[in-house]
Symmetry: C2
Subunit: 363 residues, 2 copies
């Protein structure tokens, strides 16, 4: 039954040779059931979905690049908070070129560089037909690897720094997992806005090198999780900068609690990940007497809540302007072919630190 | 040195007989160092502070009643977030009668029933001289035991229900420690505002009786901490009322986490106590995917932040109107003399459930 659905939706070219004439470069990584991505993902011909005539407000795009994010893998595993209708194409973000437009399309024209504005449209594919309203034009001068990763990580950093605590020049933000993709963007945005950052990372063999890298991007302080608990280290940190009014947390557990101990009264902690797989543990006094506030952040929800307003376009325009002037650098990315998806997924699941695999589609 | 400060501030009548002529009924329970209240509290003559001529905007009051709250005891122990300048008089709330006014006092007149609007003025005493601006007139028809306890518990319940999540008729609130003083007020206010309450209390021998009492005050559901974890019980609770949008937490630990599991997406938990002495433990998913928000509440801070606006007077007027019409009943109170302070403090420290000791001063 799954197979039947799949055939119906994506016009899979079976070994029986039927429809062989429609063979084309329009394909995608499709899964028809949740499970281990290596098992359930199949390379499928999707031409019947992408070669049909366009409706008045539809746009055909050709994908240039799309990253492999951990959340994409969790989505395919069926353990993520988003469960696409099956069968589905993997991938949540990416950058594409407009290759065809419907008769009434006004927002984009052929050749425009675009990104999808809805999440879970499935970006691990060569082509897609999408409604005009679900596309956002972006600057063609942004390199494709960076453009493909624009909607999740830099936007998460941007919104967390903007939407919870009003920060002004000279304020401080503390973050753990500071070498995560979001963390690296947060460092650079904070630097641009003249906000100090205390960046907490795990002790590791290449700590000095990583610290140097983060400092070169604009980090005010880079410390280990152990140093965060050492009074003399923290006294020295707070000699020149104020206590943080905002904490960004993607770790949880003991380390998140250590971060909140340095958070100013009335400050807020925003949790956007839980790498330690431990919950966020808050001493009662932090809530009652220090009036600290605890929020969560999920980019997918923000997009859902901000459909139809101009905020997303403004944010992307701003981020692109920083990228173009070299003020915002994306974390290290490795280009990989869509056909090598098993390799990209295996390596992402193994968690090669600091490297993002990005599918680059052949035109 | 402590003793010297104390003499200077409160004109303690020593055994040497000096100032014997000034002996009067003006006395208070004074402590000159933090520690065990039974050890450090002394009954002191405070006449020199209360018998002097009044300045233009000063008011002399005669206390009628003041409760013994756990926070008062923690303050004297030196373990509370408020540390009054020593020597200090115990007690934080109370009700008094105006017995003298300065030449320019306009806000109150002799005979008025008043409560102090600043916290930590020290209310375990017979008399005080306070600035006119620090007094709020309240309805003389409220019985003194209730009036003496007006500023902390009912106001905490009121603000927590009002200030975090906009609730409307038919919404639900879940609270643990529902038989606490704040909990009992929250039940009654929610009933008045047609808000459903799920009230969680510990299993106890007199559970049926306590449940009956809380239901008679307006509780929609009363369940044990164990029942909160039973699917069939909770399914039955949610057959007729929506998931809670607000959770009030004075327990912490496992029970607070159990409460947040039933909290609606985008709901908030407000922590105002930590009876279990365990922190608040939040699964990462509750923050990121359910967008639940976690706040603390402290009445003392609210008063501090709302000095000079009319909110407090409005709230007290509203609460008094409910009390007068029998819609707001205070938890069981036991009147005790100021001289019997050791007994009142010992019993409060022993935590006799559901009973509040209130000093009633002889006129």
């Amino acid at each position: 039954m799954f197979a039947k659905q799949l055939f119906a939706k994506f016009n899979y070219i079976g070994l029986n040779g039927k429809r062989l004439l429609s063979l084309s470069t329009n394909y995608g990584l499709v899964y028809e059931e949740y499970g281990d991505p290596i098992q359930v993902l199949k390379k499928c011909d999707i031409s019947s979905k992408t070669s049909r005539p366009l409706k008045a407000h539809e746009v055909k795009v050709s994908y240039l690049a799309s990253p492999v994010n951990p959340a994409d893998i969790n989505t395919i595993q069926g353990v993520y908070a988003v469960k696409p209708q099956l069968p589905a194409v993997g991938g949540n973000e990416g950058v594409a070129r407009v290759v065809g437009i419907g008769s009434d399309v006004k927002a984009v024209k052929e050749g425009d560089r675009v990104i999808p504005s809805s999440s879970s449209t499935g970006t691990w594919r060569t082509h897609a037909i999408l409604p005009e309203k679900d596309l956002i034009i972006i600057d063609p001068d942004i390199d494709v690897l960076t453009a493909a990763q624009l909607t999740v990580n830099p936007c998460t950093a941007y919104r967390m720094l903007k939407d919870f605590i009003p920060l002004t020049k000279g304020d401080t933000v503390i973050q753990n997992g500071a070498n995560s993709a979001v963390g690296v963007y947060a460092i650079q945005l904070a630097k641009e806005w003249q906000i100090n950052t205390i960046n907490v990372i795990r002790q590791r063999p290449d700590f000095a090198e990583l610290k140097h890298k983060l400092v070169s991007l604009g980090a005010t302080h880079v410390i280990t999780e152990e140093e965060l608990r050492q009074k003399d280290v923290m006294d020295s940190v707070f000699k020149n900068i104020p206590k943080p009014r905002l904490a960004l947390n993607c770790v949880g557990g003991k380390n998140a609690t250590d971060c909140m101990r340095h958070l100013d009264s009335n400050g807020a902690m925003v949790t956007y990940g839980g790498m330690s797989k431990q919950p966020v543990i808050i001493p009662t006094g932090a809530l009652i007497f220090k009036d600290q506030k605890f929020f969560g952040y999920w980019m997918t929800r923000w997009y859902r809540d901000n459909t139809g307003n101009n905020e997303r376009a403004l944010m992307l325009k701003y981020l692109c302007s920083l990228i173009k002037t070299g003020k915002l650098e994306s974390p290290k990315s490795v280009a990989i072919g869509l056909d090598e998806y098993k390799d990209a997924i295996n390596k992402t699941m193994a968690g090669f630190a600091g490297v993002k695999y990005v599918f680059v589609m052949k035109p």
